[in-house]
Amino acid sequence: MIRALVLALLLTPGVASSQDLAAGKDLAVTHAEAWTMTGNGKVSDATIIVHDGRIVSVTAAGPVPEGAAVIDAGGRMVTPGLMNAATQLGLVETGAADETNDKSSSNTTLGAAFDVQYALNGNSVLLPVARADGVTRAVSYPGAAGTAPFMGQAAVIRLVESGDILERPQAAMYVQIGSATLSAAGGSRSAQWQLLRNALTEAGRYQPGKPDQPITRLDAEALQKVLGGQLLVILTQRESDIRQAIALAKDFKLRVALMGANEAWRCADALAAAKIPVILDPMDNLPISFDQIGARLDNAALLDKAGVPLAFYASGNTIYLSYDAGEAMREVAGMAVANGLPYETALASMTRSPAAIFGIGDHYGTLAKDQDADLVIWDGDPLEPGNYPWKVFVQGREASLETRQTLLRDRYAKPAALPPVYQK
């Protein structure tokens, strides 16, 4: 029985449209339920016109330009390609195999200056997995380092099938405050905050060329960017630390976002007033550390109610940061909705909102004129487990949904005269 069904599966929709697009044709996605993420809900029976990798228009029952390649969405839901706001895609492939793990550095003098952009591997087999689950953009952020509280600088990547995946280097500086990195800062979170404040102060008065300054040139230059308005993401959980983050943003006039932030709901109004967005995993509901006593499933809903912008990621004991980064993020978004978050806000927290937070909102995150044509046509509600993209487009180009994992599946499920090792 398996065999017949798998063969049926392999008759996947043709890729004629890709050839058409390669020939420079316009693309028209017709009969779409378009969730534009522009704050107006969905457009039913939408026609989405794409020219040269960008969206031209999204109109209800709009006409198809002559000569355009047409994809009939058949009423399926269409969203912008999703953006995961915290991954280690391109940095980690097999986490336990050090050779494939570039997320952090423990034995260099690089602290704030550590920058993941130089390690990004566009041929990681984990990128197609995320893309086949609807992710076309992601933040790849550094791991905890030996230079706590500094983790380093993150990059925004685009999940194109070939070519450079780096979209926006140095999209944010990351620091981690709290029990997870206490020992590296001498055992106290006070030391963590003081080290951070002191480093910002020293970076501000760093004088190029002058010897024996209390901060390295590389770290000073990196932190000067933060003082100049680069996003500072503070990975922290406890209410007291979240309030410290708010104070830090005010004192140094920084642009701050929180990550993790399990207890952020306790200071939702203060975060909204300070215009500090929160990057969170809605699945985080366990008191897994003393910093997370207040974790709860409706953290996202409570923050949204107070007016705090949200962006989603999924951790799953850190597994989902690298593996199934798309599937898992959709799952946790669904959990946020199950616990009170409006549906459209959940979608926005995987599209428009992370795009705005990480500085690519001018060309990605909504289905609107001049935006990159990152589109996902879904076979069902993307927040329900087991639903998948029917088609994925990155910058107007249809991407294959084949992954190493689907190849493994088919190799062992398909009948063949020769052993599986001959099936490719």
């Binding site: 207890e263 003393f290 004991n317 669904g334």
Partner: protein, 491 residues
């Protein structure tokens, strides 16, 4: 090739199992296993009752805490107008479920509940209680601290053969993980030792209702499991310290060595049993456990990832004559379903955890669906309190991956992956995991389709008693740890 060892593994003591939490009230009621007495602390566990008749009982199964579990206060219940998945493959629409004295009496339409309290479940779904066959709740205990880094209770790490350890001796019953599991519809879970040692020790089957001692959480009469592990963990940890094993072949040598010793030890005790002259042989607690395994008295639960590792372990089991109840994690099981279908071994799998180490590189989401289609016994598991709260969604993801490749199965089939199939892994398939007359009234009333992300467990019943109710604070337990702290539990 078989050695000279006895291959007679007895069909476990499952026959003596007692689903005793429910305490069958009416003798003669249709029931295919004997009614049970409530366990008394002074008596040996019910499991070992058969040994009492022997003058010089074999010591292999002695030890541990007799269950003192008692069901919560309860009344007879008639759940009406629900979509019922019975856990054994059947679906009933607009149906009723009647429980009396902690047992299921009937599933059907327009049931007469007599004086039973009626719960209107119109528009809602009802399933058996969810069973997690792989939990570390109580030892991977929240909150984790630096103390756990130094000496956690998940595994005894002093050597690769920790066969003398019983995980029930370590259970922190106030771990809030139990309560989060309960809120997600889990009514029974198997607490397993960790997978760093090759033989991690004896498991324990629990209800997730925190008490002051593990004995009061123990599923009365449940068979005992044995945790083993193959692959990267043991050789990585012990090998990294310059100890044996440093390799997979070293692991296998260790296994064959200790099972050989156990076979000889068992022979020595059997000889003493037949001719009880002089002092009894000296006890060896590690060999007790392994002798019990060879006797078929422990359900063997093996952590394995790679298909070749699982084949090696089946060969080991064949050589020494024991049965492997389940491979856990089993991310490459789909590569060789014969390892399961030919032996009756169950596959205890995740939906989408893979890749984090070399032996996990080849995991696929269709693993469960492919094994299921091949006829293997498949169950989901948690291994972590993160997903130990939502095995229904784990099953939904795994089933969705199957559907996506053309292996669509209806909800009444998929529910087996988290009910009647894991009941087999625990040796409790005649007690729990199915809503049918005589089974324990472990029931979840869901707000909707349990395989939708938007669905929550409304009411969770264990042995016919309400253990959790999403709408009634009186039935929302709070761990001692969280009490008095500003806990984040939603009210």
């Amino acid at each position: 090739m078989k050695g000279s060892f006895s291959t007679a593994w007895l069909p476990v003591i499952a026959l003596a199992i007692a689903c005793s939490g429910a305490m069958a009230a009416t003798p003669g009621k249709a029931r295919h296993h004997p009614p049970v007495k409530p366990a008394a602390a002074a008596k040996p566990p019910a499991d070992f009752a058969d040994q009492k008749t022997r003058e010089h009982p074999l010591p292999f199964m002695l030890g541990g805490n007799p269950s003192t579990y008692k069901p919560l206060p309860r009344q007879d219940l008639l759940i009406t107008h629900a979509t019922v998945l019975d856990g054994a493959g059947r679906r009933f629409d607009d149906a009723d479920v009647l429980s009396r004295d902690g047992r299921i009496v009937a599933v059907g339409h327009n049931l007469d509940g007599g004086n039973a309290r009626v719960i209107d479940a119109r528009g809602r779904w009802v399933t058996p209680g969810i069973i997690d066959p792989h939990s570390h709740d109580g030892t991977y205990s929240m909150p984790l601290t630096s103390i756990d880094d130094e000496s956690g209770d998940v595994s005894e790490m002093s050597g690769p053969i920790a066969a003398d350890t019983w995980i029930e001796h370590a259970i922190n019953t106030q771990d809030a993980s139990f309560i989060y599991a309960l809120q997600g519809g889990i009514t029974t879970l198997q607490g397993l030792p960790g997978s760093t040692p090759q033989i991690g020790g004896r498991a324990v089957t629990l209800h997730p209702i925190p008490a002051t001692h593990v004995a009061a959480m123990k599923f009365p009469g449940a068979p005992q499991g044995l945790k083993m592990a193959c692959g990267e963990n043991a050789k990585g940890y012990f090998g990294g310290k310059g100890q044996k094993p440093t390799s997979r072949q070293g692991e296998m040598a260790n296994f064959r060595d200790v099972f050989s010793q156990a076979d000889a030890y068992r022979g020595m005790w059997r000889h003493y049993e037949d001719e009880p002259h002089g002092p009894p042989p000296p006890r060896d607690l590690k060999l007790d456990t392994l002798a019990a395994t060879l006797d078929g008295d422990l359900l063997v639960q093996i952590h394995c990832y790679r298909a070749d590792d699982m084949a090696e372990m089946q060969a080991l089991a064949h050589e020494f004559g024991f049965k492997i109840t389940a491979f856990h994690h089993a991310v490459e099981a789909y590569k060789n379903p014969d390892l399961f279908t030919e032996t009756g071994t169950c596959a205890v799998v995740w939906s989408d955890w893979w890749g984090f180490k070399m032996e996990a590189n080849d995991g696929i989401r269709e693993n469960a669906a492919l094994l299921d289609a091949a006829g293997a016994c498949v169950t989901m598991h948690s291994d972590s309190p993160v997903i130990g709260q939502r095995l229904n969604i784990e099953a939904a993801k795994a089933a969705g991956a199957g559907r996506h490749m053309g292996l669509a199965e209806p909800p009444e089939h998929i529910i087996k992956w988290i009910t009647s199939n894991p009941a087999k892994v625990l040796g409790l398939e005649d007690c729990i995991g199915t809503l049918a007359p005589g089974y324990n009234a472990d029931i979840v009333i869901w707000s909707g389709d349990p395989f939708s992300i938007y669905t929550l467990a409304d009411t969770v019943l264990i042995d016919g008693a309400i253990a959790y109710d999403r709408h009634d604070p009186a039935y929302q337990p709070l761990s001692d740890f969280q009490l008095g702290r500003k806990a984040g539990v939603s009210q």
